[in-house]
Structure formats: structure tokens, C-alpha cells
Subunit: 214 residues, 2 copies
């Protein structure tokens, strides 16, 4: 094993450190967040920090980076409209999805700069990414400022959820492998996993409980 | 596409809803958090909510569920000792890793209830999971209570990071596929992805910028 202690971590070259720390948490979801500004300019950007907060109410969070550094159109649009969509990245759009991480000005839509196509659904004002096998319309709920590094956890509620018919199991679980959904490691590593198995709900082993009582 | 609107989401059977909402955010990391109580009882539990907060300082977060419902030994031990470790789940331990989700009493160590083996490293008081290709010693930093559903974002700093030699790329990126690291969907779906490609740092396309100016 290679051992990075605090001293070694602190002395790493910046790019090496960013790659290492971004990949050490494990596989991450690959999602496109789509928004539209008050002026009607659409924005779509890749995020790998979407995290399940709870099912009842259905809440998802994601992390936005320091607002002072570069324009953060996604966050700005969400604050203006309270609406956004989360769209799963899948095999044939990974190049375009990743390219949305380039820093375009706010008057340029990444839908114009890539082959990603916008989709509007009946009575929903936020744009979706066409063809995405899981599309979620979110309503902004709250945010928590993380003072330790000037980031923000943005919290939203699932309002409308669209799922490709063939990936939904009988018990509600989504088999993302059937739709070639992507996962990210670090800043730019992409994989297209296939489901290996489902392990079911776990109960304590009787043998362990009996041994403990003896 | 199957469409779940708010009314439909609210009326779903509880198990179906939990499976659906837990899998709709995409692929999640599969990590074992290991701790030890003040009394010396070790605990290890699977988490899929570890999220990258920032690289400088190196911060990771994770979500703990409502403390009132069931004993939350991981959280309790972290509050007692300020220390925990994050260990990647890999192919041959997925059954045991998933079994740690069973609700054992706090006087039973999941290291005893499974074939997972504990590892202690020189001068580090927190236990690791032996054989894990990425092992991270964390120091508790802060927590943010999420009032919307009575959960908590626990924030920690990376103090020591141990990585299997053969998975680290020249630029610091970790190729988790080389060590058969697992990813989770929903509550119990496991996959062992292989890296497809790395896409590199993205800059705006000159053609888009020129068109916009014309």
C-alpha cells in the first residue's frame, strides 16, 4: 500500500492531489443538472456529487463549489427559478456530458455547445436532457453552507420522476445497467457498470445472537 | 417512460418507494465505515452516501439517518472518539459488507458477525477493514443537521490515506476497476465496474466562442 499521511498530502502537486482526493471516495453518480435562467438561457452541467438524503419526503442533495471563483450558472438559475432537473448520463452521451464541465460564459448554453438535446415536458418549466433513462424534476428546498471550505449543500425535493420502462424492477429498484448508465471516478474517469447481484434486506444471524448470549 | 408525479410518489407502497428513490440518484460508492467505541467495541457498517466535499482541505461527508429510530453505533463512536475509517468494498467481500446493514446491538461487533477482518495500523487508533484497496483515516470536523428530514451531514478530514500500489495512475487518479471495487444502486444492488475511459480537462470549443461573437 502507498501511504499518504497529512504531510505528504499537503506537499502533493495540486493536480495530483485533486485527482487523488476526488477518486478516493469511490464510484460517483454521473448526472447532468439542467436549468434555465429567468432570461430563458438554458444551462446543463455535469455533477458527480448528487447524494440521497431521504425517501420520505424524497430529497436529494448536491454540492456546489465556491461561488466567488467562477460563474456558477446552475446555482444562479436554481436560485432564480427554484427549479432544476437531474438527468442520468448514459454511454452514448458521456463525451458531451463531460464537455459541459468546460467553463462557458453564462450567455452560452451547453445545449448549443454540445450534441446534448433539450427536452421539455408538458406543464414542466425546467428543461430535461433528451434520451436520459432517468429524468428527475427537482424543486429547491433549502441549502446548507459548509463553512470549512466555502461550499454549499443544495437540497431539493423530487417533484416528477421519469424512468425508462425496461429498467424498473418489480419492487421499484432501478437496474441502471440495462440503460448503460455511467458512473464517474475522480474528475474524468467513466465506467458503464452492469448489475452483478442484489443481496436483499439483512437480518442479524441467529448464530451470532445465540453465541453472544451463551 | 414511466412517469411518477407527486401524487403517484406519495401513494406508492413504502418498500417500492424506498427502492425507487434510493436508486434514482445513480450509482453510489460502496464503503465500510469502521469505528471503535470508548469501551473498545469495534463497529463496521456499510454506507453509500459518502460524498466529496473538497480537495483542499481534503474533506468527505456522509449522511446519517435519524438518531431516534435505531441505535446508530457508527455515529455514536465517531462522536466519542472523533475518529473513523472509510474502506472501499471490493468483489470478494460484498456479501459480508452488505450484511453489516443488519441491525446488531451495540455490544456485538460486525467484525465478529461476518468474515470481515479488522486491521490496525501503526499509531492509528481507528480500525480498518483488512484487504480493502483504499483505506482512509478520517478525523471528525463538524456536522450539519438537515432539518427537512432529521438527518445529519457528518464532515470529516482525510488524515491518512492508504492506496493499493497498482491502482494509482501517474497523475493521482485511482483506477478502482483494477482492484474490483464495488458500487451500489438502491439499497442492495452491487456492480463491479471497469474503467472505460478518462476524458481529460475540458476547455470551451473555439468554434462555439467564434459563432457566438459573429
Amino acid at each position: 500500500m502507498i501511504h499518504f499521511n497529512q504531510e505528504k498530502l499537503d506537499s502533493l502537486h495540486n493536480i495530483f492531489k485533486i485527482n487523488l482526493i476526488n477518486s478516493c471516495s469511490g464510484y460517483k453518480p454521473a448526472n447532468l443538472i439542467a436549468t434555465v435562467s429567468k432570461k430563458g438561457i438554458e444551462n446543463v452541467a455535469i455533477f458527480s456529487s448528487i447524494v440521497h438524503i431521504g425517501s420520505n419526503p424524497p430529497l436529494l442533495g448536491f454540492i456546489v463549489r465556491p461561488s466567488g471563483e467562477v460563474p456558477r450558472n446552475t446555482y444562479k438559475n436554481i436560485k432564480e427559478t427554484q427549479l432544476y432537473t437531474i438527468n442520468h448520463v448514459f454511454d452514448t452521451i458521456t463525451d458531451d456530458a463531460h464537455h459541459t464541465s468546460a467553463r462557458y460564459d453564462e450567455n452560452i448554453s451547453e445545449f448549443d455547445a454540445t450534441n446534448l438535446q433539450v427536452e421539455y415536458k408538458k406543464e414542466i418549466k425546467a428543461p430535461f436532457v433528451k434520451g436520459s433513462p432517468v429524468q428527475i424534476q427537482m424543486q429547491y428546498v433549502n441549502e446548507y453552507y459548509i463553512k470549512e471550505n466555502n461550499t454549499t449543500l443544495v437540497l431539493g425535493k423530487i417533484i416528477n420522476l421519469f424512468v425508462k420502462d425496461e429498467i424498473i424492477d418489480k419492487d421499484g429498484h432501478l437496474d441502471l445497467g440495462k440503460a448503460n448508465v455511467a458512473t464517474v471516478t475522480g474528475l474524468d474517469g467513466y465506467s458503464i457498470p452492469k448489475l452483478k447481484d442484489r443481496k436483499g434486506y439483512q437480518r442479524p444471524k441467529a448464530s451470532v445472537l445465540i453465541n453472544k448470549k451463551c
